[in-house]
C-alpha cells in the first residue's frame, strides 16, 4: 500500500492570507449587483470620509483643546502664582489670602480645571481646590501635605495637563524651573483635565459628526441617486437581459444616462425586439407547421437513429388507433412491424437521392398494425434527416385501406361492367357526334366489333339497311333532350347480319347536373323475338287445336273460375252456366249424369291425374271419360279433358259381350256332346235312343266346327285388318260362279238365278268375296222356304258416291223387321234363336268385315214376310273390263 504522500502545505504568510482574502472579497464584490456595489461604495466612502474627517477634526480639536487647556492652565496658574506671591503663606487670614483662595476657587471653577493647588515652598500643599461633582471643594491644608515637586513646568498626563508655575518670578523667564526651584519658591499647580473638554468636544464632535454624516449621507444619497440614474439603466438593462430569455421582445424604456448606457440600451432593446420578433416568427411558423402536421391526413412520424418514434402527429392516432401507451418513445416496429432500423437503413441505401438536400427517400408498401392488433395496408414514404442529431428518418404513412378498397371496388365495377352479359357502351355527350369512349366485351360479342375498333366512332356504325329510321330519329331526339329511352330496333353486326337490339340509353350527369356522357346498354334479343314469334305461332296453333279438337276441354283459373271451354266440349256435354266456379260446374255436371251419386267433384280429384268415366243421360246418352290436370306449370290452372268414349265403350261392351257370347255359343254344343257321350258311356240305352243321341252329338259337333271356323275367320279378318287380303282386279263373274257352285253342293234342290254384268272387273280378293257371297246366299236359303226363288243380280251403281259394282241377293222368305235389320250385322245375332234355323250368328258379321275391308259396303233391305235383299258393293277396278 503506497503511502499517501504528505502534502507539503506551506504555511501561508499573512501577506498571502491577506491577498487571498482580498481576492475573495474582490470576487465576491464582482458578483454583487451594481446597486450593492454602489451602496457599498457609497457607504464605504461615507464611512471612510467621515471617519477620516472626523478623526482629523478630532485630532485638531484635541490638540486645540489641549493647547487651550495648557494656555488656560498656564494663565490660571500664573494668575494664581501672581496672587500667591503676594500672599503670605503663613498668614492665611489675610485678605489677600482670602483673595487668593478665592482666585484659586474661581480658577478651580473654570471649565476643565480639576484641581488647583497652592503649594508653598518645600512642597507644602496649602490650598487645594478641586472640582468634585460640579462643586468646588476647597481644602485647606494648614499643616500641610507635602507633595513632590513636578519634574517640569508642564506635564501632559492622560487627559490632564498639569501646569506648575513658580510663585516667584524668575529672573530668567525663559529658563525652565527645576525641582529645586519649585521647592524653593513653591508653586501653583493647576491641573486641567481635558477629559471634560474632550468629552464635550467629543459629544460636540459626535453631534457634528452625525450631522455631517446625515448631511453627507443625504448628499451621498443624492449622489447615489445620480449614480443610480446612471447605473439604474444598466440595472434595468441587466434585468432586461435576464428577462429577455423568458419574455423575448420585452424592452426596457429607461432614460439613458450615458452614451454607453444609451448604446447598450438601444442595442439591447433592439436585440430583444429582434429576438421577440424572431421567436414570434419562429413560433408562428412552428404553429403553422404544427397545424399542417396535425391536419395532415397521413401519419407523419419522426424516427430516432435507434428506431424509436420521436414525434407522431395527430393523424397517427387516428390511423393507428389507440396504441399501448403514447407513440412517443415507442419502437417503430410497434406500428410498422416490418420496419426495424436495419430494414430502414437497407431501404434508404437503395432509395432515391435528392440532390438539393443530399438526402435519400424511398417509398414502400407494407402492413401496419393498429392498437387493437388488426393489420392494414399502408404506403410509407421514408426520408432521411441529415442535420438533426435526434431524428434520423421521417416517415409519412398513408392508410391504404380505403384506397385499396376503392381500388378493389373500382376494379370490381369495371370488371363487372366488362363481364356483364349486356353490351355496354359509353359515349361522350359533350361532343356533337357522341363518340364512343368505352365498349365492354359483351358489346364485341354481340356486334362483332372489337372495342378498339369503335373507340372514337359513334353508334351509327351499327345502323344498316334493316334499321328503322324512325327508331334512329327517336334515339337522336332523346339524346338531344337528355332523356332516357328503352327501345328495340334492328342493328347490324360487323359482318352485316341484322339482329334485334334491345337498347336502353340514359344520360350520365356530373355534380353540376350537366350531362357529360351517355350510357348505352344493349341486349341481343333476336333469340327472344324469335322465341316470341314461335310462341305466338304455337299459341295460335294450340288455340286452333283447342278449338278444333274433337275432345272437350274446360279450363278453370287458379281461383276456380271457369275461363274457357272449347266447342267440342259444349257439343259433347253441353253449355255450362255463365261464369261458374268449380262447384257450380260440378252441380251442373252432376245433373247430367245417369248416376249422380257416383260423380266425383273436381276438387276431390287430387293431383294424381286420375281418369273418371261418367255416364251421361243428358242431353243425350253418352259415355264420357274425364281427366283432370292441375296446376299446369305452376299457374294454378285446372284443365278438364273430356273424351267421348261412347263408341269405344260400346265397342268394348260389344267385345266383352262377344267374348261372353262366343264362350257361351261354343260351350253349349260342347255341353251336349260331352253330356250325351258320357251318358252313353255310363248307361245302357236302347238302339234307337242311342242313334238319336249320336245324331245329336254329331250335329252339335258339326255346329261347333262351323262356329270355331267362323270365329277364327272373323278374328283373323279383324286382326289383320285386311292386310293379308289379296285385292286384285278380278272378273266378278268368276267369283259368283264359284260361290253359286259351292252353294249348289250344299243346298241341293235350290237354284240361284244369276244375272247382270258379270264381266265387271272389281277390286277383290277372290276367296274372301266368295266367302261373303256364300254367307249371303246361305242366309237367303236359310230364311226362305224351299222352292222360293233366290236371285243374284250384278250391276253398277253410283248412288252412293263413286261408281261401284253392286251385287244384290234377294230371297222371298221370312224377311226382317227393322229391329232385326238394325242388329243383323251384330256378332252372334240370330233372328231365330229357337234353334230351328241353324247358324252361328256370325255370317253377316263376316260379310260386313270383308266388304268394308274391300272398301265397299253391305246393306239389307226387307219387308217382313215378303223377303230380304242383301246388297254388296265393291270397288270397280280401274283397268278396262276384259271382253266377256
Amino acid at each position: 500500500m503506497p503511502l499517501m504522500p504528505a502534502s507539503k502545505t506551506a504555511i501561508p504568510s499573512p501577506r498571502h492570507v491577506a491577498i487571498r482574502k482580498l481576492q475573495c472579497l474582490g470576487h465576491w464584490l464582482s458578483r454583487q449587483s451594481l446597486r450593492t456595489q454602489v451602496d457599498i461604495l457609497v457607504i464605504t466612502c461615507t464611512l471612510a470620509c467621515t471617519l477620516l474627517l472626523s478623526l482629523y477634526a478630532y485630532q485638531r480639536l484635541s490638540v486645540n483643546i489641549q493647547q487651550d487647556a495648557r494656555a488656560w492652565a498656564t494663565s490660571a496658574s500664573r494668575l494664581a502664582a501672581h496672587l500667591a506671591t503676594s500672599t503670605d503663606p503663613n498668614r492665611p487670614e489675610d485678605i489677600s489670602f482670602a483673595a487668593l483662595t478665592g482666585v484659586l476657587e474661581e480658577t478651580a471653577s473654570l471649565p476643565g480645571v480639576r484641581e488647583v493647588r497652592l503649594v508653598r515652598p518645600d512642597g507644602w500643599l496649602q490650598v487645594q481646590s478641586e472640582r468634585r461633582d460640579n462643586a468646588t471643594v476647597r481644602s485647606l491644608f494648614p499643616r500641610g501635605q507635602r507633595v513632590s515637586p513636578p519634574a517640569s513646568p508642564q506635564i501632559n498626563g492622560h487627559n490632564t495637563i498639569s501646569v506648575y508655575t513658580l510663585l516667584a518670578v524668575p529672573d530668567m523667564p525663559d529658563s525652565i524651573p527645576t525641582a529645586t526651584d519649585y521647592l524653593e519658591h513653591g508653586w501653583i499647580e493647576v491641573h486641567v483635565s481635558t477629559q471634560g473638554a474632550l468629552l464635550g468636544a467629543a459629544s460636540e464632535w459626535f453631534t457634528s459628526w452625525l450631522l455631517t454624516m446625515g448631511a453627507l449621507t443625504a448628499a451621498l444619497f443624492i449622489l447615489r441617486r445620480c449614480l443610480m440614474k446612471s447605473i439604474g439603466p444598466i440595472m434595468a438593462l441587466a434585468k432586461l437581459s435576464t428577462q429577455i430569455a423568458q419574455s423575448p421582445g420585452l424592452t426596457a424604456h429607461v432614460p439613458w444616462s450615458s452614451r454607453e448606457v444609451r448604446r447598450l440600451g438601444l442595442a439591447l432593446n433592439a436585440a430583444s425586439r429582434e429576438l421577440g420578433f424572431q421567436i414570434g416568427h419562429t413560433q408562428r411558423q412552428l404553429s403553422r407547421l404544427r397545424a399542417v402536421l396535425d391536419t395532415a391526413a397521413d401519419a407523419i412520424i419522426s424516427v430516432t437513429p435507434q428506431g424509436l418514434i420521436d414525434n407522431a402527429n395527430r393523424a397517427s392516432e387516428h390511423i393507428f388507433g389507440p396504441t399501448s401507451g403514447a407513440l412517443h418513445g415507442a419502437p417503430l416496429t410497434l406500428i410498422l412491424p416490418s420496419l426495424r432500423i436495419q430494414e430502414l437503413e437497407q431501404l434508404m441505401r437503395n432509395g432515391t437521392l435528392i440532390h438539393s438536400t443530399q438526402s435519400r427517400t424511398c417509398r414502400i408498401e407494407c402492413q401496419a398494425l393498429r392498437g387493437n392488433g388488426t393489420a392494414f395496408p399502408v404506403d410509407v414514404l421514408i426520408s432521411e434527416v441529415n442535420n438533426d442529431p435526434d431524428i434520423r428518418y421521417t416517415c409519412i404513412v398513408r392508410d391504404l385501406t380505403d384506397r385499396k378498397l376503392d381500388h378493389e371496388n373500382l376494379t370490381l365495377y369495371s370488371r363487372a361492367v366488362d363481364c356483364a352479359l349486356n353490351g355496354i357502351v359509353i359515349s361522350d355527350a359533350r361532343k356533337l357526334a357522341h363518340p364512343i369512349v368505352y365498349a365492354n366485351r359483351a358489346f364485341s360479342r354481340i356486334t362483332g366489333y372489337a372495342p378498339q375498333d369503335v373507340l372514337g366512332q359513334d353508334l351509327s356504325i351499327l345502323d344498316g339497311a334493316a334499321t328503322n329510321p324512325e327508331d334512329l330519329a327517336l334515339l337522336a331526339e332523346t339524346m338531344h333532350r337528355g332523356g332516357s329511352l328503352t327501345t328495340t330496333l334492328v342493328h347490324h353486326r360487323r359482318e352485316g347480319a341484322p339482329f334485334h337490339n334491345k337498347l336502353s340509353i340514359s344520360p350520365v350527369r356530373n355534380d353540376a347536373g350537366v350531362i357529360t356522357h351517355y350510357i348505352h346498354v344493349m341486349e341481343d334479343v333476336t333469340g327472344q323475338i324469335e322465341v316470341k314469334q314461335r310462341l305466338i305461332e304455337r299459341t295460335a296453333r294450340l288455340n286452333a287445336a283447342f278449338h278444333l279438337s274433337p275432345d272437350g276441354f274446360a279450363v278453370f283459373d287458379k281461383d276456380g273460375e271457369l275461363t274457357s271451354t272449347n266447342p267440342s266440349m259444349r257439343a259433347m256435354i253441353g253449355i255450362p252456366p255463365e261464369q261458374c266456379n268449380g262447384q257450380e260446374f260440378d252441380a251442373w255436371f252432376r245433373s247430367l249424369c245417369e248416376n249422380p251419386e257416383t260423380y266425383r267433384p273436381v276438387e276431390q280429384v287430387g293431383t294424381a291425374n286420375l281418369r273418371d268415366v261418367m255416364i251421361l243421360t243428358h242431353p243425350y246418352p253418352r259415355v264420357v271419360q274425364r281427366e283432370v290436370r292441375r296446376n299446369l306449370a305452376g299457374s294454378g290452372e285446372t284443365i278438364l279433358y273430356f273424351q267421348d268414349i261412347t263408341q269405344q265403350t260400346e265397342l268394348d261392351r260389344i267385345k266383352s259381350d262377344f267374348l261372353a257370347t262366343a264362350a257361351h255359343e261354343l260351350r253349349t254344343p260342347l255341353a251336349s256332346i260331352l253330356g250325351f257321350t258320357e251318358l252313353m258311356l255310363h248307361r245302357e240305352y236302347p238302339e234307337h235312343q242311342r242313334r238319336d243321341l249320336l245324331q245329336t252329338v254329331h250335329r252339335q259337333s258339326e255346329l261347333l266346327s262351323h262356329l270355331i271356323q267362323e270365329l277364327l275367320d272373323l278374328s283373323r279378318i279383324e286382326a289383320r285388318q285386311g292386310k293379308d287380303f289379296h285385292i286384285v282386279p278380278t272378273r266378278l263373274g268368276d267369283i259368283i260362279d264359284n260361290a253359286v257352285a259351292d252353294m249348289g253342293h250344299q243346298e241341293a234342290g235350290r237354284t240361284i238365278h244369276v244375272e247382270g254384268a258379270l264381266a265387271l272387273q272389281v277390286m277383290a280378293d277372290t276367296e274372301k268375296i266368295e266367302r261373303a257371297l256364300l254367307n249371303l246366299l246361305s242366309n237367303a236359303f236359310k230364311y226362305s222356304p224351299p222352292g222360293s226363288q233366290i236371285r243374284l243380280t250384278v250391276d253398277t251403281d253410283a248412288s252412293e258416291g263413286a261408281a261401284c259394282a253392286r251385287i244384290r241377293i234377294s230371297d222371298e222368305g221370312l224377311g226382317m223387321t227393322p229391329a232385326q235389320m238394325a242388329r243383323a250385322f251384330e256378332r252372334f245375332y240370330r233372328a231365330d234363336t229357337s234353334g230351328r234355323v241353324p247358324g252361328t250368328g256370325l255370317g253377316l258379321s263376316i260379310v260386313k268385315e270383308i266388304a268394308e275391308l274391300h272398301g265397299g259396303s253391305v246393306g239389307l233391305s226387307s219387308k217382313p214376310g215378303q223377303g230380304t235383299t242383301a246388297t254388296l258393293r265393291l270397288r270397280l277396278s280401274p283397268t278396262p273390263p276384259q271382253a266377256d
Binding site: 257361351h664 261354343l666 251336349s672
Partner: protein, 126 residues
C-alpha cells in the same frame, strides 16, 4: 212324395241332356221350360224342390234374376237352385254367390257330376 225338379234352359239339347241325366232319379218329377219368365211363373206354381237354371237366356229374366226372385220368395225357401252357365268368369261366380245359388255348374258339365250335385242337394232336402 215326389221330388219336383224344374229345368229352365233355352237350348233343347241341354234340356234333353239334363232330362236324360235325371230320368232315373226316384220319384223325380221333371218340368222344363225355355225362358226365364216362364221359369219363374212355373216355379211359383209348382214349387219345385230343385231348379236347374241356365244363366243366359233371352227374355225378360235371365237365370240370375230368376234365382234372386226364388231366393227372395219365402214360399220357395226350400227350393234349391243350380245355376248352369257357359260363363265361367270370376265375376259370374261372384254374381252367382250374390244371388245365393246353391250350386254353380259351368257348361260343358259332366252329367254324372250333375247327378252327384243333385243328389247332394236333394239328399239334404230329404
Amino acid at each position: 212324395m215326389s221330388t219336383r225338379i224344374l229345368i229352365v234352359d233355352d237350348h233343347p239339347d241341354i234340356r234333353k241332356l239334363i232330362q236324360l241325366t235325371l230320368e232315373h232319379l226316384e220319384d223325380a218329377e221333371l218340368h222344363e221350360t225355355d225362358n226365364g219368365g216362364d221359369g219363374w211363373r212355373l216355379a211359383q206354381s209348382i214349387k219345385p224342390h230343385l231348379i236347374l237354371l241356365d244363366v243366359m237366356m233371352p227374355g225378360e229374366l235371365d237365370g240370375f234374376q230368376v234365382c234372386q226372385k226364388i231366393k227372395a220368395d219365402p214360399a220357395l225357401s226350400h227350393t234349391k237352385v243350380i245355376l248352369l252357365t257357359a260363363r265361367a268368369q270370376q265375376t259370374d261366380r261372384a254374381l252367382g254367390e250374390q244371388v245365393q245359388c246353391d250350386a254353380y255348374l259351368t257348361k260343358a258339365f259332366s252329367p254324372l257330376k250333375l247327378l252327384e250335385t243333385v243328389d247332394t242337394l236333394l239328399g239334404r232336402c230329404r
